[in-house]
Amino acid sequence: MEITENEIKHLATLSRLNFSEEELGKFSADFTAILNYVNELQKVDTSQVKDNTIIREFDELREDEVKPSLSNDDVIGNAPKNYNGYFVAPTVVE
């Protein structure tokens, strides 16, 4: 299975990323190799293996309780840019 450069371009657009021609070629080869490896795994005969999907019981979910949040300093502390307690990101107009 091949992941073409066009597909890489499409994914890059969705992620607001820009790749050079060289990078496109490299990602295309890498992604194709990964999917080929997964294809190999698909060949393993699992028809005799019991379904081991784990299903969570409702009781294992969380009670609706409020616990302390992080301080504002901790929340925005790692942000490259902040302003009055807000994160600041480059404007992406939809």
Binding site: S15, R16, L61, R62, D64, S69, L70, N72, G85, E94
Partner: protein, 477 residues
């Protein structure tokens, strides 16, 4: 050419749990920016989301209220998109196995005709953060307090065919969600939001046309206006032999028109896949039964109660129960002063008129404390204050919620019910305005209201108008 209009709605409603849907941060509308945040809801690496039981129960409750089937196993999936309102670059949502499937609600148009609007599904997801574009600082400010707030999305089938039906459907859904107390449903605050899908097809045709999706509809009025606008826009295109393009459009309420946001070519490709952090979870029949047992009275039962037990007319009961906030307020006031019909009359006339003065808002908030309002009703009903004084006081305490009993005492606003005093004041007026006496005698009944008006002016509205009307007639006849 004539067209059939095909409309489907996606309604988002924030659940009023105490904590967020996948973490223990507080679920609160207000608050300083980025103060209800933790590693889970700001998407720090390695954080582990765990679903909130109450949010799941509320989703089941919403499903039961509209007749959905509840899935026995539900799955959370990642909806991938890159936009700064989500720190993780994906939203935890549901795709192939939502909590609720199917169902529907019945709507009624102005002519009383009923129509069943089918639902496709109700799923549970997380809300996104709030963005404020700020050109002064050259960027977008982000507050993640709302990120991770539980949100249900209710997806209808394309069963509506006019703005009127869409608004009726939305208002019915809001009513149901409020009654079962899973959401405040305030459109202005964004706890109820709505996207509209709309397409046209030649009248009678079975083939669906190309649809446009309308976003940013913040009130019932803008839903109606956006639909009207879109019907005109699409029919003009089709009439001129042009194509409608599949796209997302943003409604601009101030300019009363919509603008294209994105076309199909750059449509989002969400690449859903099961969230590996969240296992599929089981919804046992016993849980569904437990939720069922907590369902409150729905509107129809409440109407029956008001008509049969409190003696309200069916029409009044319907208007009153149209909004749960009003129902709760009415019930409280009646618990303090047990004259339901009297209170209902005042609410449906004076109070609702006041509420409607603020026409930008679909949200019904009465700022007067119910006990204070009950006291006002009690003074008015017993004749302690006149109708005119009651209205003035109502206007005043609407603004400041001051104690109306105190106001009456301090300002001496009690109604004058003393026949002798009223009579002598009327006699003075009769002497002063012989012309009006003449008018009355020559058949002008309006002259009577002139005397009552003058009397009220002199007594600052304190004279008992009923007594005065009776007396002036006796005196002049």
């Amino acid at each position: 050419m004539e067209y059939d209009v095909v409309i489907g709605l996606e309604v988002h409603s924030e659940l009023k749990t105490k904590s967020k849907v996948f973490c223990s941060c507080k679920n609160e509308f207000k608050g300083e920016p980025n103060t209800h945040c933790c590693p889970v809801c700001i998407g720090l690496p390695g954080a582990l989301p765990i679903p909130n039981k109450e949010a799941v129960k509320m989703t089941i409750k919403a499903g039961l209220a509209v007749g959905s089937k509840i899935n026995d196993i539900a799955i959370f999936e990642r909806k991938n998109y890159f936009y700064p309102d989500l720190a993780k670059a994906y939203q935890i949502s549901q795709a192939v196995r939502p909590i609720c499937i199917g169902g529907g609600v019945e709507i009624e148009n102005a002519q009383g005709q009923k129509k069943f609007i089918r639902l496709n599904r109700i799923h549970l997801e997380e809300d996104a953060g709030k963005l404020i574009h700020n050109s002064k600082i050259g960027g977008t400010m982000i507050d993640y307090n709302r990120g991770g707030v539980p949100l249900i999305e209710i997806v209808s089938e394309p069963d509506m065919s006019s703005a009127e039906e869409a608004v009726a459907y939305l208002s019915k859904l809001r009513n149901i969600l409020q009654y079962i107390e899973v959401s405040d449903c305030k459109m202005e605050q964004g706890s109820l939001r709505c996207d509209v899908n709309i397409s046209l097809k030649p009248k009678g045709s079975n083939e669906l046309g190309v649809r446009a999706e309308m976003k940013n509809l913040n009130s019932f009025r803008s839903v109606a206006r956006a639909i009207e606008y879109e019907i005109k826009r699409q029919s003009r295109l089709l009439d001129e032999g042009e194509q409608v393009v599949q796209e997302t459009r943003r409604w601009d309420d101030a300019r009363n028109r919509s603008f294209s946001m994105r076309r199909k070519e750059d449509a989002q490709d969400y690449r859903y896949f099961p969230d590996p952090d969240l296992l599929p979870f089981r919804i046992e029949r016993s849980l569904v039964d437990e939720v069922k047992s907590t369902m409150p009275k729905l509107r129809d039962e409440k109407i029956e109660y008001y008509v049969n037990e409190l003696g309200l007319s069916e029409y009044d009961a319907k208007v009153l129960t149209n909004d749960l906030n009003l129902v709760k307020y009415f019930d409280k006031v009646v618990s303090y002063f047990n004259k339901p019909k009297f209170i209902c009359n005042f609410i449906l006339t004076t109070v609702l008129k006041k509420v409607k003065e603020n026409e930008e808002s679909d949200d019904l908030d009465i700022p007067i404390d119910p006990q204070n309002f009950a006291n006002l009703m009690q003074m008015y009903e017993s004749g302690k204050i006149s109708q005119a004084i009651c209205r003035d006081l109502f206007d005043e305490i609407w603004l400041n919620n001051a104690d109306c009993q105190k106001l009456v005492e301090e300002r001496g606003l009690a109604q004058n019910n003393n026949e002798d005093e009223i009579k002598s004041m009327l006699q003075e007026l009769i002497n002063e305005f012989p012309q009006s006496v003449q008018d009355y005698k020559s058949g002008n009944a309006k002259a009577l209201s002139f005397f009552i008006g003058q009397l009220m002016k002199r007594t600052q509205g304190k004279a008992n108008a009923q007594i005065a009307s009776k007396l002036i007639k006796e005196m002049l006849d």
